[in-house]
């Protein structure tokens, strides 16, 4: 299920990402948030209740759209440009605390 609806500018080149392992398509020039929410309904788990979160302010103020890459990098989805080949984790974390 997607959340955002594209209303135009759909002539851009396609790019490919994965969300929690599933391959999806987005468009060059999408923010990561748009690339994700054009394909899925939420971006992250809330730490302190059972709910999911899908961002809020879209201008890098609310900090409610941080996602993980499979490699363990943190990205603020609304202020990061989506790139072909990104592998995004929206459930749980990709924190590798163990040192070895």
């Amino acid at each position: 299920m997607s959340r955002f609806r594209r209303l135009g500018e759909t002539g851009r080149a396609p790019i490919r990402l994965t969300i929690d392992g599933a391959e999806v398509w987005a468009l060059a020039g999408d923010t990561l948030m748009v690339a994700l929410l054009a394909n899925t309904a939420a971006l992250r788990d809330s730490e302190f209740d059972a709910g999911r979160r899908a961002g809020f302010c879209l201008m890098a103020a609310c900090q409610d759209c941080w996602v993980w890459t499979e490699e363990g990098e943190r990205l603020r989805a609304c202020s990061t440009e989506a790139a072909d080949g990104m592998r995004i984790v929206t459930r749980g974390t990709a924190w590798r605390i163990d040192a070895s």
């Binding site: 959340r3 135009g8 879209l58 103020a61 609310c62």
Partner: protein
């Protein structure tokens, strides 16, 4: 004097005009901006590869947007533009910058903060559900990405942006399920004399409202939000109409906002004095009419100082630059100060009119259920706040923060601060100014531990 470093933070209308004026005086200011492209939020530019004309993005403001963008482009080579750079702290006469994971300390001789604004939010039950976005965020989705936040969108809250964004959505082909305005019609009537100080702006407001009606969008005034409902995302908004009847509007997205609040964290870290502004019902940095703060060498301009809109921001940016130049020993014609100040005067009056027409619904705070979430980062409820107010002795916001964690999360109180103040003041039975404001703490935004010091 050419070696004096003047730094402008923000590349929106205020920052652009400040930089332009500094460059005109022969300086080479550093312009630091979080975004990749100049323009700020109001004149935010779409990424490369997008093809919509300025008229489609900015409507009536297309000309102004083009002018501001053009002015910035004309500064190429005359300024040092540092895009995608966050000022994460200010300390001891220097900015602390973050670009990617590189941190740099940048001392300044004069600093103009043009940090803009974000939405002012009054929470409502269910506001953390996926599908609820700030009004400004809803507009950015459309303006910068040609997206709607959902298939059927309700816009709820108050302020001129409510009508503008609804209009822009409808015009772009989105389905607007309803516009739910908490301010009563009577408030607009009361505000008319002040709003008439800028007839063109008033006319635009009337135009958007009329256009929404023509497109068959339901507009309700004087409503009271009850809840945003849904299991794993927005399914409906429940609200009471002006007559008190409970209504339910099905939708899959909500744009929520009650005007704007200034982004004042950097002014706070620069140790500028703040004072309560009864019209905005917020603590704002104290400035003189030209933008000087209580901290020598630090100036404020635009919505980051007080919410007056983009046109005023352009004037204020230029005025703050004039003030900085004069304080650095440059000669600035008195007539320039006079004309900028005169041009700004009606803006302030119009702003007061907007605050009268679209009042911040402080009284909603009393109506929150104890289980309603106020702080979305930490999931702190109205009940948590009332408990620390009444049982643990929190007479002001920072104590309430220490005891309840309100405002302690990733956003540092940006989203919950104004509402938390109202809930606390209501619980204590004191005026909101008495509970103070959340003190700013660095980093202004989350700072990677992998950050390395450069330079």
């Amino acid at each position: 004097m050419a070696d004096r470093r003047v730094v402008v933070v923000g590349a929106g209308p205020a920052g652009t005009r400040a930089a332009e004026r500094l460059a005109a005086a022969g300086l080479r200011p550093v312009v630091i901006d979080e975004a990749a492209l100049n323009g700020g939020q109001i004149y935010r530019r779409q990424p490369a590869g997008f093809t919509r004309p300025a008229e489609a993005l900015y409507g009536f403001e297309a000309g102004r947007a083009r002018a501001v963008h053009g002015a910035f482009e004309a500064l190429s080579g005359l300024i040092e533009h540092r895009p995608q750079t966050l000022v994460w702290h200010i300390y001891d006469g220097a900015l602390h910058l973050l670009c990617g994971t590189k941190a740099e300390r940048l001392p300044y001789d004069a600093l103009i903060l043009a940090t803009g604004a974000t939405d002012r939010i009054m929470p409502v039950r269910g506001w953390t559900l996926p599908g609820v976005y700030s009004l400004g965020g809803s507009q950015i989705a459309l303006k910068a990405q040609a997206c709607a936040i959902g298939a059927e969108v309700v816009f709820m809250g108050s302020g001129p942006l409510l009508y503008l964004v609804a209009y822009q959505y409808a015009k772009a082909g989105a389905t607007v399920a309803a516009v739910l305005d908490t301010s009563p019609f009577s408030a607009s009537v009361k505000a008319l004399p002040a709003l008439a100080t800028r007839p063109a702006m008033l006319a635009k407001g009337i135009y958007y409202t009329a256009r929404l009606a023509l497109r068959g969008v339901a507009v309700h005034r004087g409503i009271t939000p009850v809840a945003i409902e849904g299991d794993d995302g927005v399914a409906a908004v429940v609200w009471r109409d002006a007559a008190g009847r409970e209504r339910r509007t099905a939708c899959d997205a909500v744009g929520l906002g009650y005007g704007l609040r200034s982004e004042t964290q950097l002014a706070d870290l620069a140790r500028c004095d703040f004072a309560f502004d009864p019209i905005a019902r917020q603590y704002l940095p104290v400035t003189d009419q030209d933008g000087r703060t209580s901290t020598p060498g630090v100036y404020l301009a635009g919505d980051g100082a007080r919410i007056q809109g983009a046109d005023a921001a352009e004037l204020a940016g230029r005025l703050a630059a004039c003030a900085a130049l004069r304080d650095l020993g440059h000669s600035v014609p008195a007539a320039e100060f006079a004309s900028l100040r005169a041009a700004l005067a009606p803006m302030a009056q119009f702003r007061e009119g907007l605050d009268t027409a679209f009042p911040w619904p402080a009284h909603f705070a009393a109506g929150f259920a104890d289980s309603d979430v106020v702080c979305r980062c930490e999931c702190i409820t109205a009940g948590d706040l009332r408990e620390v107010a009444l049982e643990k002795g929190a007479p002001e916001l920072n104590r309430a923060k220490a005891l309840s964690r309100v405002g302690m999360g990733r956003c540092q109180g940006r989203m919950c601060g104004p509402a938390a103040a109202e809930v606390l003041a209501d619980a204590l039975g004191v005026p909101v100014e008495q509970v103070g404001r959340l003190r700013g703490q660095g980093p202004v935004k989350p700072l990677p531990i992998a950050t390395e010091i450069v330079g």
